[in-house]
C-alpha cells in the first residue's frame, strides 16, 4: 500500500469513462422519455390501449437491466440490416437500450401523475416531473456501470482494469474508494441540482399563490 502509485493517465481515463456513463444515461433517458410519454398517454386513455400500456409498464418495471442487456447483446445479429442499412447496435448503445425499460416505466409512472396534476389545474404539481426525471438520470448514470460486463469502457471498467494490476487488497480498496469519490461527487452534485430545481419550483408556486 505504501508503494501505491496511480498514474495521472488513470484519472484522465476515469473522467473519460464517466463521460461515457453520462452519455449512456442521456441516451437511455431520451428514448425513455419518448417511449414512456407514449405509454403514459396510452394508460390515461383507458380502454384496450390503456390495458396494454399498463401491462407493458408492469413488465418493463419487472425486467432486470443486466438480463435485458445480455438479451439484447445475444438476440440482435451482428450483421442486422434494415433497408440495407446496418442497425446492429454498438455495445454502448446496447447498455443504453437495456436501461430503457427502467427509464420508460419510470417516465410513464411519473408522466401519468404529472398529467393528472395538469388536468386537475396544477401546472406546478405537474412540473415536479422535472426533478423526478433528474433523479432518474442519476440512477441511470450509476446503473450504466453494468456496461463493464460487456466491454464498454465506462468509468467502472477503467477502475477495474487498474485494479487488476494491483496485487494487494489494500491498494485495490484505495482505488475503489477513489472511484466511489468520483461517482459520489457526480451523484451528490446531481441531487443538489435536483433540490435546487425543486426549490425553484416551490418559489414559483408561492409567487403564483400570492397573485390574486
Amino acid at each position: 500500500m505504501m508503494g501505491l502509485h496511480i498514474p495521472a493517465e488513470f484519472f484522465r481515463s476515469l473522467l473519460a469513462g464517466m463521460v461515457v456513463n453520462f452519455e449512456i444515461a442521456a441516451i437511455a433517458l431520451l428514448i425513455g422519455l419518448a417511449f414512456g410519454g407514449l405509454l403514459a398517454l396510452g394508460r390515461l386513455g383507458g380502454g384496450a390501449v390503456g390495458a396494454v400500456a399498463t401491462t407493458l409498464i408492469g413488465l418493463m418495471r419487472a425486467a432486470p437491466t443486466f438480463v435485458v442487456m445480455f438479451f439484447l447483446l445475444n438476440i440482435i445479429p451482428r450483421d442486422a440490416t434494415l433497408f440495407g442499412v446496418g442497425i446492429s447496435p454498438s455495445p454502448l448503445m446496447i447498455v443504453a437500450l437495456s436501461l430503457v425499460p427502467y427509464s420508460a416505466s419510470y417516465v410513464a409512472d411519473n408522466g401519468v401523475e404529472s398529467l393528472k396534476q395538469l388536468r386537475a389545474g396544477s401546472p406546478l404539481g405537474a412540473l415536479q416531473f422535472l426533478p423526478n426525471v433528474t433523479r432518474a438520470f442519476f440512477v441511470l448514470v450509476m446503473s450504466s456501470s453494468a456496461g463493464a460486463a460487456i466491454g464498454v469502457t465506462e468509468g467502472i471498467a477503467v477502475i477495474l482494469r487498474e485494479a487488476v494490476l494491483l496485487p494487494a487488497l489494500g491498494d485495490k480498496l484505495v482505488l475503489f474508494a477513489i472511484g466511489i469519490l468520483f461517482f459520489g461527487a457526480a451523484l451528490q452534485a446531481g441531487f443538489a441540482l435536483m433540490r435546487l430545481l425543486q426549490r425553484h419550483l416551490g418559489r414559483l408556486a408561492m409567487r403564483n399563490q400570492a397573485i390574486p
Binding site: 413488465l59 443486466f66 438480463v67 438479451f71 456501470s145 469502457t153 467502472i156 461517482f183 459520489g184
Partner: protein, 563 residues
C-alpha cells in the same frame, strides 16, 4: 512317458509360435516400400488408356491422371495459410507443396475457411483439407483423417505480462474472452471462470490491447502470429495451455481409400525424416509436438507400414462428444415440431447434453438462493442500519449515515466487486463465496436505502410524539416497529430492487442462471432462445417477488393501522 509328452507339446507350441510369427515379420515393410508399391500401382493403372475416364475413380488415381493435388488451404490464418496477391505461404501451404512434390504432381490451391472446408471436400472440389482442422470425434463422421496428425495445437490463455497467472487456480473468478463455439469453452467454465463471448477470434488481440479483455483464450496457433510482433510480445505472454488438439489432414470418406493410405504413409515418413519439422521451422511455428513425433516415428514398432494404425504410435482424436440427456431425443422432436409449424429456429441446448443440463439446473437453484438471500439480507441490513441511524448516540448514528452515503455513491458493479475482493481475501474462491459476497453487497446497497427510510420514519414519529419515547440510545422496540410499518412502501420498493439486481451477481462469478446460460451458449447453439428464456425466467421471478412484497406491505400497513 507323460513327462516326455508334455515336453514335446511345449516344443510344438514354441515352434508353432515361431512359424506363426515369421510371416508377420516377413510382411512388415517400411512405410517407404509400402508407399512406393502403392503409388507405382496407381501410376500404372492411371497410364492404362481409358482408365482416367472410368467412373468412381479413386482420388489417388485421379491425382496421377490430372497430375495435380487439389488442396483446400486457408488464406487468412497467419503463419499457417496466408495469401498476398498470387503468393501463398504458411505451414499448411508448404506441407501441401511437399506432399505434391513427393507424389510428383503439382499442387492446386483452393481457398477454404472453417465453415467451407468440409462441404468443399464433400462436393469433390478439393482432394485434401490442409486448413488448421482439429481432429475430434464429431468430425470423424464427416471426413477421413490422415494418421499420423501433421500438427497439434492447444488452447492458450494470453494476458498482460504484469499479471501473475500460472494455472487454473489463478483464473478462478476472472473473466476470459473467448469465441463462441470454441471446443475448450466447456473446460474453461468448469474452473469457475467467467466468459466474455466474441463471434470472431480476430478481434481478441484488439480487445486485449484496448483492455476490454484482461485475458483471452484461443488456439496457440492463432496467437503465434501476434507473438512474432515485437509490440505484442513485449506486453503479453502465454500464461498456460490446455486442451491439446491434434490437427489432421483430411480426405473424403468415400472414393479416397487409396489416397488416404498413401497420405498416411507419407505423413509417417515426413515425421520420421523431419520434413514436417523443417517446414515448421521455416514458417516460425511451434515445433515441440513435431520434435516429439519425430522420435515416435523413428521407433522400430512405429516405422512400419502398419504404424499409422498402431494405437501405441498414433494419437487419439479429441473426444468432443458431450453426453446427451436421457430426454435429448424428445427435446429435438419438440424443436423440430416448433420449427416446422412456425419457421422459427427454436433451440433448447440446456436440455440436450448432460453438462448443459447440469449447469442449467444449478443456475436456477443458485438464482433462487440469491433472490431469497438478497431479500433476507436487505431486510436485515434495513433493520440494523435503520436502527443505528435512528439512534440518539452520535457515535452510532453518524457512522451509519456515512456508510449509507458511501453505499449510495457507489455504482452497483463497484460495490459487488469490493464485496468479492474482500470475501476472496478471507476465503478461497468458490461459487458459494461468490454467491455469499453478492448477497451481502445487494443487501447492503438496498438495505442502506431502506434503513434510511426507516430512520426518516422514526424522525417523523418522534416529532409527532414530542420525543417522549425512546429517549437516549437506541429507540424502543415499539416505536421502531411503527417506523418500519410507516416506511413499508420504501422497504418493499428496495426489496424488489434487490431481487431485480441479483443477475448482476454473475459479474463476480456467482453461478446463477445468467452465468450458467452464458456458459452453455459458449459451447452450444441457440443463443436467441436461451436468452429469451432467461429474460422470461427473471421477469417471472420479479413478478412473484412483487406479489409477495405486496402481501408483506399489506401486513405492515395493517399493523400500523392497528397501532
Amino acid at each position: 512317458m507323460r513327462v516326455w509328452r508334455t515336453v514335446l507339446l511345449a516344443l510344438a507350441g514354441v515352434l508353432g509360435s515361431i512359424v506363426a510369427t515369421v510371416p508377420l515379420v516377413a510382411n512388415a515393410e517400411t512405410p517407404d516400400a509400402a508407399l512406393a508399391k502403392l503409388t507405382e500401382d496407381a501410376r500404372a493403372e492411371a497410364a492404362v488408356p481409358g482408365a482416367c475416364a472410368a467412373p468412381q475413380l479413386d482420388r489417388l488415381l485421379r491425382m496421377f491422371c490430372e497430375s495435380r493435388l487439389r488442396a483446400g488451404v486457408r488464406e487468412y490464418y497467419p503463419l499457417f495459410g496466408t495469401r498476398e496477391g498470387e503468393t501463398r505461404s504458411g505451414y499448411d501451404v508448404d506441407v501441401a507443396r511437399a506432399l505434391a512434390k513427393h507424389f510428383g504432381v503439382e499442387p492446386a490451391f483452393t481457398r477454404v475457411n472453417a465453415a467451407t472446408r468440409v462441404p468443399l471436400l464433400a462436393d469433390d472440389r478439393i482432394d485434401i483439407i490442409l486448413a488448421t482442422m482439429g481432429h475430434n470425434t464429431q468430425r470423424d463422421g464427416q471426413v477421413r483423417f490422415i494418421r499420423p496428425h501433421y500438427y497439434q495445437s492447444e488452447t492458450t490463455v494470453v494476458g498482460p505480462r504484469a499479471i501473475a497467472i500460472k494455472g487454473w487456480p489463478d483464473v478462478a473468478g476472472r473473466t476470459i474472452c473467448v469465441t463462441v463455439g470454441n471446443g475448450s469453452n466447456a473446460q474453461i467454465v468448469s474452473h469457475n471462470v467467467r466468459l466474455m463471448l466474441f463471434d470472431e477470434a480476430g478481434v481478441l488481440p484488439e480487445r486485449l490491447k484496448d483492455e476490454t479483455c484482461t485475458l483471452a483464450a484461443q488456439d496457440d496457433s492463432f496467437f503465434a502470429y501476434y507473438f512474432t510482433q515485437p509490440e505484442f510480445a513485449k506486453n503479453y505472454e502465454q500464461k498456460f495451455g490446455f486442451a491439446q488438439v491434434p490437427w489432421g489432414m483430411a480426405v473424403a470418406r468415400t472414393g479416397s481409400d487409396r489416397l488416404a493410405r498413401a497420405l498416411d504413409l507419407t505423413s509417417q515418413i515426413f515425421h520420421r525424416d523431419g520434413v514436417f519439422l523443417g517446414i515448421a521451422r521455416a514458417n516460425r511455428v511451434g515445433t515441440g509436438f513435431l520434435e516429439r513425433q519425430q522420435a515416435v516415428w523413428n521407433r522400430p514398432e512405429c516405422n512400419t507400414d502398419t504404424g499409422s494404425t498402431n494405437p501405441a504410435c498414433v494419437l487419439p482424436a479429441l473426444d468432443a462428444d458431450l453426453q446427451p440427456t436421457p430426454f435429448a431425443g424428445r427435446v429435438t422432436a419438440v424443436e423440430d415440431w416448433i420449427e416446422a409449424r412456425t419457421g422459427v429456429d427454436f433451440s433448447l441446448p440446456m436440455f440436450k447434453t448432460m453438462p448443459a443440463w447440469s449447469l442449467f439446473k444449478d443456475g436456477i437453484v443458485n438464482s433462487l438462493i440469491l433472490v431469497a438471500g438478497a431479500l433476507a439480507a436487505t431486510l436485515l441490513f434495513a433493520m440494523v442500519l435503520g436502527g443505528l441511524q435512528s439512534s440518539r448516540r452520535f457515535l452510532l448514528r453518524w457512522p451509519a449515515r456515512a456508510g449509507t452515503i458511501v453505499l449510495q455513491s457507489s455504482p452497483v458493479v463497484l460495490t459487488l466487486v469490493i464485496a468479492a475482493a474482500v470475501a476472496q481475501a478471507i476465503f478461497p474462491y468458490s461459487s458459494a463465496v461468490a454467491i455469499g459476497a453478492a448477497i451481502v453487497a445487494l443487501g447492503l446497497m438496498n438495505g442502506s436505502n431502506a434503513g434510511q427510510a426507516i430512520a426518516e420514519a422514526m424522525h417523523t414519529l418522534r416529532t409527532e410524539r414530542g420525543s417522549v419515547q425512546g429517549t437516549g440510545g437506541i429507540p424502543t422496540t415499539e416505536l421502531f416497529g411503527r417506523a418500519v410499518s410507516r416506511s413499508a412502501t420504501q422497504i418493499v420498493s428496495f426489496l424488489i430492487n434487490a431481487a431485480k439486481g441479483t443477475p448482476i451477481a454473475s459479474f463476480i462469478g456467482a453461478p446463477e442462471l445468467l452465468s450458467a446460460l452464458t456458459d452453455i451458449t459458449s459451447f452450444a447453439s441457440g443463443r436467441a432462445t436461451t436468452y429469451t428464456l432467461l429474460l422470461v425466467f427473471y421477469v417471472a421471478v420479479v413478478v412473484v417477488v412483487v406479489w409477495l412484497c405486496g402481501r408483506f406491505r399489506s401486513w405492515l400497513e395493517h399493523r400500523q393501522a392497528a397501532a
